[in-house]
Symmetry: C2
Subunit: 369 residues, 2 copies
């Protein structure tokens, strides 16, 4: 395979490992309203692209505390299709103009923002103003200022804001974190991580700076940043980066590949690679004093495999990462518990990515205060 759509790529990798398709072959119905009495929170999906279609909507069917209650889409044909497939009532179907009317709709507790990166602030702020909790896909936005606006708007509405960092709830990643935190092989000293793929359709929004805010770093490099942060137990304080471009037509607006380094205050450093040019990057490795441990592949929707140099098992339950992420957020809301993936984390990562772009552009190490 030389190039493919991003979601297809991650999904294909998952299917080939798990041996079973992720997309249910039968239509699912929205959970009946009575379920609300069982504390099932109503989710509205904003943006019905392939992630919503192939991952999030099916995952909602597997959750304990959530149900697909509504949708927001600018495409009437999609609205009709989703209405038919999931039995969504007309009153819970919105477009971007009517979305603010959600304020009067008690069926919807949480808005899950799945639009292109630079629309996240717009949709999050609308949802917050309508009094909804917001789960927003990563990257949080394309600038730190916009992230701060989002945090402010949700706070003003007295609601919760979480970022869709699915790996924060994935058992293999949590086991990596545990081994590092408990120093089971001694202190971790170095981390290597890479995530990338060969991107297909040259017209897609992911290749447009105004919508994506950047290239593979914003889209998949962020997984390496998150993984390094989980293992290091802190945010990086300095970064350096270099970008490369061999196809200036396709990658007219965003970087084609980036190699980058993260330095942490505790002496750990991470060496990372992200690309839209070639397949095969999908791993994270931690090098500790008495051994190494890692995940290969690390960032698929399922089929994640762990390994340890001491031949012990690095295993974890196979979960639906989106279902787990949504159930956790629902639990935070139901029990008034702060999320572990707050807007502040999303903001910090956007600042890290902006520092990486500055480092690449200026050719110098950039410190993050």
């Amino acid at each position: 395979m030389s190039s493919t759509s991003r979601r297809d790529f991650v999904r294909m990798a998952a299917i080939s490992v798990a041996g079973a398709p992720l997309i249910p072959s039968i239509a699912h119905r929205a959970t009946p309203t009575t379920a609300r009495q069982e504390k099932k929170l109503g989710f509205a999906l904003v943006g019905l692209g392939s992630l919503s279609t192939n991952q999030i909507a099916p995952a909602l069917q597997k959750t304990k505390h959530c149900r697909l209650a509504g949708i927001v889409t600018g495409t009437p044909a999609k609205a009709a299709k989703w209405k038919a497939q999931y039995g969504i009532p007309d009153k819970n179907i919105y477009n971007y103009e009517t979305m603010s009317r959600m304020a009067d709709n008690p069926d919807i507790d949480v808005v899950y923002v799945v639009t292109p990166n630079s629309l996240h602030a717009r949709d999050t702020i609308k949802a917050a103003k309508a009094g909804k909790h917001v789960l927003c896909e990563k990257p949080m936005e394309v600038s730190a200022a916009r992230c701060q606006e989002m945090i402010g708007a949700v706070k003003a509405a007295n609601r919760q804001l979480a970022i869709g960092y699915r790996c924060r709830f994935e058992p293999h990643h949590l086991e990596m974190l545990r081994i590092a935190k408990e120093k089971e092989m001694g202190d971790v000293r170095l981390i290597e991580s890479g995530f990338g793929f060969s991107i297909g359709d040259p017209t897609q929004w992911r290749l447009k700076q105004a919508l994506a805010g950047g290239g593979p770093l914003m889209d998949v490099g962020i997984y390496s940043i998150q993984s390094a942060e989980m293992i290091a137990g802190q945010y990086p304080i300095a970064v350096s980066a270099m970008t490369t471009k061999t196809d200036p037509v396709k990658f007219k607006e965003v970087e084609e590949s980036m190699t980058f380094e993260l330095k942490f205050a505790n002496g750990i450093s991470a060496s990372c690679t992200t690309t839209y040019k070639v397949n095969g990057f999908n791993r994270t490795t931690a090098y500790a004093e008495r051994g190494t441990f890692g995940l290969t592949p690390a960032f698929n929707y399922d089929g994640i495999k762990g390994w340890r140099s001491d031949r012990k098992e690095l295993a974890g339950a196979e979960v639906d990462q989106f279902a787990t992420e949504m159930d956790d957020f629902a639990d935070c809301i139901i029990n008034n518990r702060p999320t572990s993936v707050p807007g502040e984390m999303g903001l910090r990562d956007v600042r890290t990515m902006m520092a990486l772009y500055e480092a690449a552009r200026m050719g110098r190490t950039v410190r993050i205060a």
Copy 2:
């Protein structure tokens, strides 16, 4: 294993893979002088540390065109031991003061410099002035100026100078080069490489800036630079780097770890890691348009393993890398053919490493003219 001597580490790894020790259990005799008529060139080893003892002297016994003819050592006890073990005549045993008398010794054709890094120029220039060809261990020296002096001295003597880049003669590395050069999986876009180990004895010369000229970058990081250069088919034109230090006592003078990036004019970039802090880094991976291929481990004395994402074989003959390297140099001398690992290559890599140290120190990308 938490820390160990460098040579022991590489050797242990090799033994564990190959299943047989590399050090011959019986004493070898120097090839008799009559062999010179069969075009066996006489090698004198300068510096009888573990590399000479455990690798180069045994490898000399396996060469076709070389023989161990003499030694240079500052330690009389070592001279006595080598004399007994290899039957080296007294007239071919030198110390660093008497070494220039080699000029009158036709038994010695080639001087192999195996002293600490910052003594390479001293010993190379002495050997050149004595009219000998010189094979010099990597890194060539600790500054570009010294490398240039070495090149000048050997050129003035009308002799050849080669750098001990053993992987340039290793079949798996040559197969990596071939796959890249013939674009068998399309253009290579990205390279990842790492080499490092947990260093033992805190008093060794490798941890002293004056003798080593740097830390793991100079010692083992150079293998990643060489591997990237082989795959990219050119030298890097820009570099960035970050160093980390968590043990400022042991690593008072040199870096503990470095993550670094190399950028090539053909659009390839390489992301590399080197360390004296943890074991486990020993690989090189090339990401091409239609697949990935790599070596894990990549840099051991033997037991190198290749892999390709298309499941085809990436194999190579198991050779003694030092024997192959020495036989190639002997062949260059016998047939008056230029070496493929000349002083100019060693100089370029020293310039790259100095640029990497500057990049880390200044926190900026450094271009190499």
